[in-house]
């Protein structure tokens, strides 16, 4: 097809489509609405997955560089399963993992080796998966999310950040990580509800919880703990903030544990 014919064809299909058609299809896509609470649930899962991925990368690195393993964060045995969402049946995936996981592990080792030798940034690897041919555009002031690093225990996290957070005994899905360099975080599940405890010496609000403040009460006079309820998109979120010495703590729940739920957990972690 020469350029001229191509142009006619181009003009053909693009002019055949009316704005009414476009509107109808656009409306059809716009009618797809996430389930209630999806926004917060997905966000919590993203942090879980990112933390677990960071942890896996560190395990791979420490396998490749045994001389650094003592000072590196170690792997953990605790579950890092994302929270409170129905999972679809994915049996075929399990069959594939028999051979795919060892192969993927070898590939990761190989890629890390290549990166180390060539000094390339990991962006080059992930780009091949992401598939954006325009991704070479780089601008000043571009997005750079803070790194989340997973740790195997509260001690390992303390060693890295100087901050101590500990999941209460008997809790499930415990995951330790640092956010940037100055926030230590542990997330865990109690009675099916997920809680996140953060510690930092920062004076600003490092909870990351935003929304319309609907309640603000003293939760514990002894500790000066303050309970704040926030609302967004009809869903209520709770956080309790307090200070011990020069360290600020915040305990959060975003999946509807209620005041009693967060207060009970506060009593376990304070």
């Amino acid at each position: 097809m020469n350029d001229n014919t191509n142009e006619k064809f181009h003009t053909g299909i693009e002019t055949e489509i009316t704005s009414a058609e476009k509107d109808a299809v656009q409306e059809a896509f716009d009618a797809i609405e996430p389930a209630e609470g999806a926004k917060a649930r997905m966000y919590a899962n993203i942090l879980h997955k990112a933390s677990a991925e960071s942890e896996r990368a560190q395990v791979t690195t420490s396998t490749q560089e045994p001389e650094k393993s003592l000072s590196s964060p170690i792997s953990i045995a605790s579950s890092d399963a994302p929270v409170t969402r129905r999972r679809s049946t994915k049996a075929p995936l399990l069959r594939v993992t028999r051979w795919a996981l060892p192969m993927a592990a070898c590939l990761v080792l190989l890629i890390f080796g290549i990166i180390k030798m060539s000094g390339h940034k990991p962006v080059d690897i992930i780009d091949t998966q992401g598939g954006d041919p325009t991704n070479s555009a780089i601008a000043a002031g571009a997005q750079q999310p803070a790194p989340i690093t997973g740790y195997g225990s509260s001690d390992a996290l303390k060693k890295a950040t100087g901050l101590y957070v500990q999941a209460p005994e008997g809790t499930e899905e415990v995951l330790y990580c640092s956010v940037g360099t100055d926030i230590a975080e542990v997330s865990f599940t109690v009675n099916g509800k997920q809680y996140t405890l953060r510690a930092s010496k920062r004076a600003d609000d490092f909870s990351g919880l935003f929304g319309e403040e609907i309640n603000h009460t003293v939760a514990d006079k002894e500790n000066g703990a303050v309970l704040t309820a926030l609302r967004d998109e009809g869903i209520t979120y709770n956080k309790i903030e307090w200070k011990v010495g020069d360290t600020n703590y915040v305990l959060m729940n975003t999946d509807g544990a209620g005041l009693n739920g967060i207060m009970n957990v506060y009593k376990m972690v304070k």
Binding site: M1, N6, F9, I13, E14, E16, I17, A24, V25, Q26, E27, A28, F29, A31, I32, P34, A38, K39, M42, Y43, I46, L47, K49, A50, E53, A57, R86, R87, S88, T89, P92, L93, V96, K121, P122, V123, I126, Q129, G130, G131, D132, P133, T134, N135, I138, A139, A142, Q143, P145, A146, I148, V179, T196, G208, L209, F210, G211, I235, Y237, T254
Partner: protein, 166 residues
């Protein structure tokens, strides 16, 4: 945004795009759980990678290509192309807004039923408003292929669209 953030930049990024990515993933996966799972994985890539975006348009284009590739890979991995769910609990959950008329519902069903290879073209053309040449560049397909795919998709949507706008 009422979520636990990695940092302000990522939180703002998520705020800008979460609904867009979810919709795109749902249009491929046709299940709330799978759509959320795929959308999460797209954002995990952003969070754990060292991506730099020139502007919001660049962000959207990257998210669109990455999410559609991820969904197509996932559909391929599960062998779920044109296969009905085996489990009643995992049956496709297509949200049906009560106030929508039947005609819009027909269009939506027709759009969601498109094969994955046409769906990304339809999404980018109709929803994002890209021209066919831009779609071709983004998806790495010849422009003539994109136009043919758009034409094929339109044929498949024809009946529903005719009912919606006679």
């Amino acid at each position: 945004m009422p979520s636990i953030s990695a940092n302000a930049e990522f939180e703002a990024f998520y705020e800008r795009h979460w609904r867009y990515v979810y919709r795109l993933c749902f249009s491929f996966m046709r299940s709330e759980a799978d759509a959320e799972d795929c959308a999460e994985d797209v954002f995990v890539k952003v969070l754990t990678g060292s991506y730099e975006f020139a502007d919001e348009t660049h962000e959207r284009k990257w998210l669109c290509v990455t999410a559609s590739n991820l969904c197509k890979d996932r559909l391929g991995s599960y062998g779920r192309r044109n296969v009905e769910s085996l489990d009643a609990d995992d049956a496709p959950e297509i949200a049906a807004p009560e106030e929508d008329g039947d005609d819009l519902e027909d269009v939506r069903e027709a759009v969601l039923s498109l094969p994955p290879k046409l769906k990304d073209v339809v999404w980018m053309y109709y929803y994002d408003g890209y021209q066919t040449d831009e779609i071709a560049t983004a998806l790495g397909r010849p422009p003539s292929t994109v136009r043919n795919q758009l034409r094929d998709a339109r044929k498949k949507l024809e009946k529903a669209l005719r009912n919606n706008h006679p």
